[in-house]
Structures are given as C-alpha cells and as structure tokens.
Amino acid sequence: MIKQRREVLKTGGGLGVLGLLAAAGVIKPELALAAWNEGAFKAGTLEKSLAALGAGKPATSGDISINAPDIAENGAVVPIGVSTTLPKVESISILIEKNPDALAATFKLPEGTEANVQTRCKMGQTSNVYALVKADGKFLMAMKEVKVTLGGCGG
C-alpha cells in the first residue's frame, strides 16, 4: 500500500495527483494527509516553507502560544510546545527561521485532539521560532526567540 502510494507520487508528479485520487475516493483522505510533504520540508527559508505549506503570509495571532525556553542550554534538544485557544484547529506546524530548512514538524489534528502539542527540535543557532496554526481554514502565526548557547568545557 505504502509503496504503491509512493509510486503514484513519483509518476504522478506530486500531491496534486494524490489529492485527485483522494477526491475520487480511491484512497482514504487520512492516508493522503500522511504522505510526507517533501516540498515543504525541503523548502529552505521560512518564506518558502510557508509558501510550500500554502500559508502565504499569515497574520500574527495572540491566541497562539509557544512554550519554549528563552535560552536553550543545548541546541540539539530545544523543547517546543504549541497551543492555541483558536477554534477548529486543523494543523499546527513548527518552523525555525535560521535552520537550513525552516519547517521542523507539522501536526494534523483530527477533531477531538486538543490544539496542544509538544516536541523537541534541533536549532543550529539562536533563532526565531514560529508556530503556524491552520484554524477554520485560515493560517495564523506566533513567534518567539530562542537563544542557543554554547556549553561544556570542550566545544
């Protein structure tokens, strides 16, 4: 099944075809969602990553909060949590501006799952961290700076 989907992806030239297949009822929508969004994860800059996610230039929302430390003792593990009080949340994405590819993770939230996820990301250097939320069909965003420090006696 998975192999077949990958083949469809390759020969068909991307998500468009997959979307069509989903629309035609050939595959279930939730499986279509699960295909890795290579375009977005390899988009590079923040701007290009947002574009690849179809988010354009999202407005800032005070209803989204990023739970991350101001200073991370080590860039290899930076705890990042995102939660929001916005209704009808469909997805949450975490983007790190100064990483080679900004998009770190994206979560699709089925109905009944709370808009509150936590994970840990690598940060090569001090950077702004963005939380992108799609709620009720609209993209909104919040930002927080996380400082990454050098540590240990060796380096």
Binding site: E73, A76, P79, T149, G151, G152, C153
Partner: protein, 271 residues
C-alpha cells in the same frame, strides 16, 4: 599530605589562598532560564529507551553459557536489582574487591554468562558488549531512582579506596595542570553555563553522584558513570583511564561516600 604538614608547621607564615578571583556575584536571569530549560526536558527522559533495552538484556539468555543475568548479585543478593545501585560501590567478599556497578556487572557477565570482561574493557563506547553494558546500567540505575545513597564505609577496603579517591581528586597533572578539584573544588561555580557541583561537600557530591548515569542531550547518548569519569579525565587532559580501573573505583567511592544520604536521581538528563 607532606605539604600540609609543612604548612601547619609554618602556620604563622601561611596564608591559605582562595585560588579563585572575587567576581562571583554573576547569578542572573540566564541561570533561571537555563533552570527552566532543564525542567522542560526532564519530563520525557530518553534514558527510558535505554532502560527498556537493558531490562531485555538482563533477562535474555546470552553468552557462551547461554544464561541470563537474573541471578546476578549486585550486593543485595542474587537477582535483587531494586535499590542495588544506590548502595554501590561496595566491597564484595567473593571477588575480594571494591566494585562499582559496571565492574560488578562485568563479574556477573563473566561468571554467569561466560562473557570475557576484555570484550567490554577494550570495546569503544556505544559498541559491542560495551553498548550492551550501557543499556543494562540504564535499567539497573532506574531501579534505584528515589532511593537514598547508602554506601557502606565500614570495610577497611572501602576506607582505603576513599583515601585513594580523595588523593586522586586533588591530583594535579597534565599539560593544563588540572585536577578534579580545579572545577569541582569550590562552591557556586560554573563552567560556561553549566553549574559545577562542589564535590567536596555532601550536597555537591550527592547532586553530582546522584544524577549520573544520565542521558546527554548534546549527543543523544546514555552515559554510565565510567563514561562520565572517562570524559572528565579527557577534559582534564589526562591520559585515558582504563575501563573499570582502580582510579575510577576510588573516585567513585570518594564521591558516593561524600554524598551519602543524598537522593538517587538516576537516570539523569544532562546537557
């Protein structure tokens, strides 16, 4: 000790130097934020992943003798894992040696499973039997989480090891003239942003000894106490201590005994 006698003899002329500078009032917001960072990563310690593998290895029949470690005596009787590492190192009559967790596990692996200790001593970190040892350690120390450090200092062999460990702690050498005490022999110091436990004191030794072995987020590895000490000596610019050698046991006894009564927080999670 000879020099101490001299300084006592010359007490009138003797001024014990605080070897450090005066500027230490640098506690700031940075320290608080780092504390918050540590708190955030404490929930969800990947040491659990290693402990899971270690428990499997403990129960698995392995080695030339195709036996498990379930009859291993870590000091509380065959098969007793709970609380065992909180009471190590200790003197073992059957081997006639003071052993830490890892050297004791090597004894069990040799006697029960027929695994040659050399395959562990000479392996690289994270490779072969050494990697398996690391997982088993993760399992064993998880079973002492929350217990009190309880080192039996009555045997003369332990007292001797303590003295040797203390001498090691203050022993300066190598191209940078460092000893353990260079970094761990004063209160409220840090190296870069990392707090340095003052291992001379009960509280410091309990904090240091009690939070290793640990998962290290900087490299995603689980480090045993042998690994921790090995890297201390590396940063100290000393030659490499042989895995399980007496200098590592002596230092372990010095730290554990100094921290006696403190809480075991293993497995820890560290930078």
């Amino acid at each position: 000790m000879n020099y101490r006698m001299l300084s006592q003899g010359l007490a009138g002329a003797c001024l014990v130097l605080g070897t450090l500078g005066a500027g230490s009032a640098q506690a700031d917001a940075t320290t608080d934020e780092i504390a918050r960072y540590r708190e955030m990563i404490a929930d969800g310690n990947p040491s659990e992943l290693f402990a899971l593998q270690g428990e499997e290895l403990w129960k698995q029949k392995r080695g030339p003798r195709n036996a498990s470690l379930e009859q291993c005596d870590l000091g509380l009787g065959p098969g007793v894992v709970k609380g065992a590492s909180a009471r190590l190192p200790r003197y073992f009559k059957d081997t006639g040696r003071v052993q830490d967790l890892e050297t004791r596990l090597m004894t069990c692996m040799e006697t029960l499973q027929g695994i040659d200790p050399k395959t562990i001593i000479n392996a690289a970190w994270g490779k072969g039997e050494r990697e398996k040892m690391q997982a088993i350690v993760a399992y064993v120390v998880t079973e002492s989480h929350g217990e009190k450090i309880d080192i039996d200092m009555k045997p003369p062999q332990m007292k001797k090891m303590y003295e040797l460990g203390k001498m090691t702690f203050y022993y300066r050498g190598g191209p940078m003239d460092f000893s353990c005490a260079t970094c761990h022999g004063d209160k409220d110091k840090r190296i870069r942003l990392q707090d340095l436990p003052d291992l001379r004191t009960q509280a410091g030794a309990a904090a240091g000894w009690g939070s290793w072995p640990a998962y290290r987020v900087s490299n995603g590895q689980f480090w045993t106490m042998q690994h921790r000490l090995n890297d201390c000596f590396r940063q100290q610019r000393f030659p490499e201590p042989i895995y399980g050698s007496d200098v590592t046991i002596a230092l372990s006894v010095y730290m554990a005994a100094t921290g006696n009564g403190g809480t075991v927080m293993t497995p820890g999670i560290k930078r």
